[in-house]
Subunit: 365 residues, 2 copies
């Protein structure tokens, strides 16, 4: 796979060890720096339109007894990652945890008690070396599906996403240019669909063929692979990204993650988020515009209301159109699911709703 | 799609209406029969090796006030299904629910309050007409992935499962012969892997190519599409089905669903279960056989112990080998995950564990 990139990654990993070695040779206490990943170092960067990590760093000092366990763990993780890259393999973060778990010789102490101890070490390494998890040969869970008039090269295989039948191509966790090379992209836009059941409606109706677009789903909150895929199609081919979600705080949050990123992945969002994304629907306002019967709306519950309140406070939702939508949702006190459009007919969503939205450019920003 | 099959299905749906019509013409109370789907009508059929529905039926009588709501709902569902088939579409069971939900004119009464009212009607129709959900053009959630030297035809697309790169083909919900036609199947067996992260290890290592097999995952408890796919490959091509799960009551239950079916789908299990399936691992006995360090085992919790006790009582687990495995698990009081094998090396699972198991035919029945 990625020969050149791997070399660069290994060089950065080695850098950690070399710095420590120099400190030890100088009889200094081995220390390395990691970016602070707590909320007070995370901000929404208006210029790039993504959530970002600030520049606060903290020292991790081997001789500080409060740091030494984490120090040891981070070095173990870094060294295992180097091994994985050397073996030209990709492993899951759960594999990594198990590979490193052992009782330290002559003690009763385990290197890691559970995966919640190894995951933050991975994040520290990603953030401090400014690398994507995929570049470290670590696989995230990948659950997305894609179809459209796209040809790509993945390893030795030429893959035609226009010939995937009713199934679709399962998006891998690593879609970095070293792994996935686009050979042909014939589309006017990418439609990112929250739910896979709805994606199947669009695929069955050959929406992507009739409307010259690419359809993608992340089955709920999308994984890194799907988000990076959308970003690459947007950045490299200039394709608009339209996001189709439920009209509820959860669907709208999924949109916000696709567009500006999530707090937990703040250190990678420049490489995952697609700030140009637009929200094509559903909105609660659609209920009137599209004459959707009230019976298929769902009353907001307490959790929805609480979540809605949180969403209203997010900096990136401080836009007129979103304020209107949130206040309409509160006023009507209902939400609705994409499947509710089936009330208007089996193919209403593919033949009327989405085409009209696109024609009228009726998006939320 | 399936012209001939659709006609047969519509004929059976019409049959419900015709029977009722004749009853009405004779001034009888409209009544239809549905198989009883409660536990006391479900049994393990040793001959077929699957869980089955018994032959108890119950009447549903329109003029019985306790039945009339359900009577109306079932007819609504049957008539919508006919419409969906007529439109040559496939819909999710959530779509179906929404399509039918409305307030009955002149009343405050909704046809359905939520999906938990429409789903049992679908099951009644499946069971009473002896049809698979897929034949009714209803899509279940599909989340599986497959790769191997298999060529199939899906609609107009010829799909080569040997050329799916790192992603794999996303298994659709409907893999009935009318939708999926196998053109070439070159494999010695099918390996059904519980977890998608592990499936990715096997795919990355090109296990299916090196070992002439097909690799399939259902990401946890598999959906109908993956199970039917495995069954077809077993029945139509005589391929042994080997199931690779965690060594815990949950993984072993997944195996048991693949092999003999589930109680909730008892009425369809003859068409979904693969009684010839074998359990290739993990087992707790493997810990000694494969010298797996104790550190990567996990202590059984209360829920595990409870579930284990239930499993021990199932008729289909009354086999010497399973009794030994269950008692070993209880004695050792630990479980372990597939990823724990990473402790023995990144590719231990693909290069040593599974090949040795197959060579020694070290399976549980």
């Amino acid at each position: 796979m990625a020969g050149g990139r791997d070399k660069e990654v290994v060089k950065r990993l080695d850098g950690i060890g070399e710095t420590l070695l120099r400190q030890i040779e100088k009889s200094e206490s081995p220390t390395y720096q990691v970016p602070v990943r707590t909320l007070n170092n995370i901000f929404f960067d208006k210029k790039s339109g993504t959530i970002k990590l600030g520049d606060k760093v903290s020292d991790r000092n081997f001789l500080n007894i409060a740091h030494s366990r984490k120090f040891m763990q981070t070095l173990l993780v870094a060294s295992e990652i180097k091994k994985v890259i050397g073996a030209q393999a990709t492993v899951s973060i759960r594999d990594l945890y198990y590979a490193l778990k052992h009782t330290i010789e002559g003690t009763q102490e385990n290197t890691f008690e559970d995966q919640s101890e190894s995951d933050p070490c991975i994040e520290d390494i990603e953030a401090s070396l400014d690398l994507l998890r995929e570049e470290l040969h670590l696989a995230a869970s990948a659950k997305g599906i894609i179809a459209g008039d796209v040809q790509l090269r993945d390893g030795k295989d030429n893959i035609d996403l226009a010939k995937m039948g009713s199934g679709g191509w399962s998006v891998p966790s690593n879609v970095e240019p070293e792994n996935i090379e686009f050979k042909k992209v014939k589309a006017d836009y990418v439609l990112f669909i929250e739910k896979d059941a709805v994606w199947r409606r669009f695929n069955e109706d050959q929406f992507w063929k009739k409307n010259n677009c690419i359809i993608l789903t992340g089955r709920g909150q999308p994984g890194r692979g799907e988000r990076r895929m959308a970003q690459r199609l947007n950045k490299e081919f200039g394709l608009p990204l339209l996001v189709l979600c439920d009209a509820d705080p959860w669907g709208m949050y999924i949109y916000s993650v696709i567009k500006q990123g999530s707090i937990s992945l703040s250190y990678s969002e420049e490489k995952l988020a697609t700030p140009a994304a637009k929200f094509i629907g559903l909105t609660t306002r659609d209920v009137e515009t599209y004459k959707i019967p009230k019976e298929v709306t769902i009353k907001l519950n307490q959790l929805d209301v609480k979540r809605l309140k949180e969403m209203e406070s997010y900096e990136w939702f401080q836009k007129k159109e979103w304020k209107e939508e949130f206040s309409n949702m509160k006023e009507k006190a209902y939400k609705l699911e994409l499947e509710a459009l089936s009330k208007k007919g089996i193919r209403f969503i593919t033949e009327e709703y989405v085409p009209r939205k696109i024609k009228e450019e009726d998006y939320l920003p």
